[in-house]
């Protein structure tokens, strides 16, 4: 553990030094690359939070991809119909919550195989959105909010304080989740349910209720991530435009050891690789075919999993049905 900790700090230090070096060479481009890393990394981080919230209470959620696609769809078309980005985001969060409730219903009440339940969410979201999709709509997107004073700080101002509203909400949410998971009684109970539901039940925690609650809230977080994709990052919706982000998020969750901070760091690293690749392509320093650039996150996902596999331990009761003992 100690060895890994020092490795982590060494890596952070290395990244800081490299960033500092490039910043001294070209401040404008470096700030914009790091800022883009946050923009690309945030949806992955939020989606990873969905996975963490579910799995910490023992429910496997491979339906995140479907939640993102569906909520992004609902958000975009609500914003388009009401001409309000705010209503769009609200609708996306509601849609995400609905998908969370459906997953909870299938995996907790119906005791279905959770992998199949998640797959159903993915396929159902794809089918429903493909059928209802109408081309040629536009929607108002969320606009950038520059935080007064803070956005004037060199480098950090552009990287952290010149973003759309969902970036700020998302980042705060991730920190709140981290604190809640490890420093509140809700977090302790949730983790207990994910590790040993029998004991938690004996101690008076309602396993079903807590699982329902957490999977539904996780759905809402997924809805926010979906809203971010269609209303802040891309500004439109297209069939299958989530491009496997929900699955990559699961890999980041595992790589980050089911810890919000770990997953956030992993997501930012992913965002950074994408931002750097984009910059290299844009400035024509390297010429890589588009297809290989597109492949990068998927290959990285597999590599990341191959590295972390065997070294991490998932919540013990994950994927198992809980049956209350009969008196």
């Amino acid at each position: 553990m100690k060895k890994l900790l020092s490795f982590k700090w060494l890596l952070t230090l290395l990244l800081v030094v490299i960033t500092g070096y490039f910043y001294s060479k070209d401040g404008v481009i470096t700030s914009s690359v790091v800022s883009t890393a946050l923009i690309f990394g945030l949806p992955l981080a939020l989606a990873a939070m969905v996975g963490i919230m579910c799995e910490r209470t023992g429910i496997v959620n491979i339906g995140i991809e479907g939640t993102l696609l569906f909520s992004a769809f609902v958000g975009f078309f609500t914003a388009s119909a009401t001409d309000s980005d705010f209503y769009g985001v609200v609708a996306a969060v509601i849609a995400g919550t609905a998908s969370g409730v459906l997953l909870a219903f299938m995996s907790i009440s119906w005791k279905m195989d959770q992998i199949i339940a998640g797959t159903i969410i993915n396929i159902l979201a794809t089918g429903l959105t493909s059928f209802l999709y109408k081309q040629g709509h536009t929607a108002p997107t969320t606009s950038e909010i520059d935080i007064p004073w803070l956005s004037k700080i060199p480098f950090f101002g552009q990287v952290l304080f010149m973003h759309g509203p969902i970036v700020y909400i998302g980042l705060v949410l991730i920190f709140v989740l981290y604190v809640a998971l490890f420093h509140t009684s809700w977090g302790l109970r949730s983790r207990a349910v994910g590790e040993h539901p029998g004991s938690a039940d004996t101690a008076g925690v309602s396993v079903f209720k807590l699982r329902y609650l957490n999977v539904s809230i996780a759905g809402a977080v997924g809805g926010l991530a979906g809203a971010y994709l269609s209303l802040e990052l891309v500004g439109s919706w297209d069939r299958g435009f989530t491009a496997g982000k929900g699955f990559t998020a699961l890999a980041l969750m595992i790589f980050g050891r089911w810890n919000p901070m770990g997953a956030l760091a992993a997501a930012m690293f992913f965002g950074l690789t994408q931002a750097v690749t984009n910059q290299l392509m844009f400035s024509q320093i390297v010429k890589i075919p588009d297809q290989f650039v597109n492949m990068l996150p998927y290959i990285l996902t597999i590599v990341v999993l191959a590295i972390s596999a065997g070294k991490v331990r998932p919540p013990a009761a994950e994927g198992q049905q809980y049956e209350k003992e009969q008196a």
Partner: protein
């Protein structure tokens, strides 16, 4: 198989399909179209004429094979959702061998080209299998990632390296006549081959030790381990064989239907395979009716749009509802039907 048991096993899938069509009808109605007209058009185009049936069976061929690939995984306790990538890789490799290798007679060239499809599909399956067996990475993530990687890879290969000369589209040259699968009485002969293969897989699971081993691993890994069955080997075999069958499906599609490789074709076949496998109750023979039904719907969707003004994506939605109804326990409970034989393991652990 006794009559009563038979009806109990197959009642749920049949009712699931009917319920999905009923919900689909409501959605079509809400959209302002006539559901009866839409379904009538769909089924008359799919099954109402010899040419329609030929088209349906042609569409059903890769679906039988992708359904089989998913079924083999389910039997061995694996959820292979990477059939799409395995199939596309096979489709590309078979098409490549079909146009690149010259001067062979058809009875050598055609099997060689199909073998390329099988081998490349199996190779992709094996990557996910090896990552699962040796690194413990869940196949659901690796196969999904491989799907995207392969999609980009074949797009590059067909668009740059092996592109048809003078062509703007990303596609390979047309395959040679010596690699083209001949038609029997204007019916796609690949279909009959796929049926034979389904029987073969059924026989392996029903009658051989290898099949029994895979199934034991699928039902209980620790029990299999105690019995001296290598779980790793079973995972590798199931993924390689599944990938190979998917690759064959892609190969038949390239050599018998499309005549070249073009990345915009063969989309979605792998995901239909999941629906077909679960609709068929993870039974190798059960994939045949599902594949014919879905092949027919896929083939006739465009005509239905023309006749009834319903978006062809209604088929995607109906299939998603079929999957939901066939796996959700409420129907099975209501019909007092038997559960699916094999259960796949949940969770990321082994």
């Amino acid at each position: 198989m006794a009559g009563k048991k038979f009806s109990r096993t197959w009642l749920t899938p049949v009712v699931a399909v009917l319920v999905a069509f009923a919900i689909g009808a409501i959605l079509i109605y809400i959209q302002g179209a006539d559901p009866l007209k839409a379904y009538q058009s769909l089924f008359s185009h799919a099954f109402g004429s010899w040419s329609g049936i030929a088209k349906t069976l042609g569409k059903a061929t890769p679906l039988v094979l992708s359904g089989l690939a998913v079924t083999i995984g389910l039997r061995a306790g694996l959820f292979n959702i990477g059939v799409q990538g395995q199939l596309v890789m096979g489709a590309f490799a078979a098409a490549w061998a079909g146009y690149f290798i010259h001067g062979l007679p058809i009875y050598i060239h055609l099997p060689v080209a199909l073998f390329f499809g099988v081998a490349f599909g199996a190779g992709i399956g094996l990557i996910a299998g090896a990552l699962k067996a040796y690194r413990g990475i869940h196949e659901v993530i690796t196969t999904i990632m491989l799907n995207s990687i392969i999609l980009a890879l074949v797009d590059y290969l067909a668009g740059h390296v092996f592109q048809e000369p003078g062509q703007i589209l990303a596609r390979t040259p047309h395959i040679l006549p010596s690699a083209t699968i001949p038609k029997i009485f204007s019916m796609p002969s690949g279909f009959f081959f796929a049926i034979l293969l389904a029987y073969g897989v059924w026989w392996v699971f029903q009658r051989t030790t290898s099949g029994f081993r895979l199934e034991t691993v699928g039902r209980n890994k620790s029990a299999a381990w105690y019995a001296g069955i290598s779980v790793k080997r079973s995972v590798l075999i199931a993924m390689a064989v599944g990938g190979g069958i998917a690759g064959l499906g892609g190969g038949i599609e390239s050599l018998g239907v499309i005549g070249r490789f073009e990345p915009t074709f063969n989309t979605g076949l792998g995901f239909d395979g999941i629906t077909i496998a679960l609709l068929g109750r993870a039974n190798p023979l059960g994939v045949i009716p599902g594949a014919i039904l879905i092949g027919g719907m896929r083939g006739a969707a465009a005509s239905m749009q023309f006749d009834a003004g319903v978006a062809p994506e209604i088929v995607d939605l109906i299939l998603a509802l079929v999957l939901f109804c066939v796996t959700a326990p409420f129907l099975a409970k209501w019909l007092k039907s038997t559960e699916v034989g094999a259960k796949i393991s949940s969770g990321w652990g082994n």
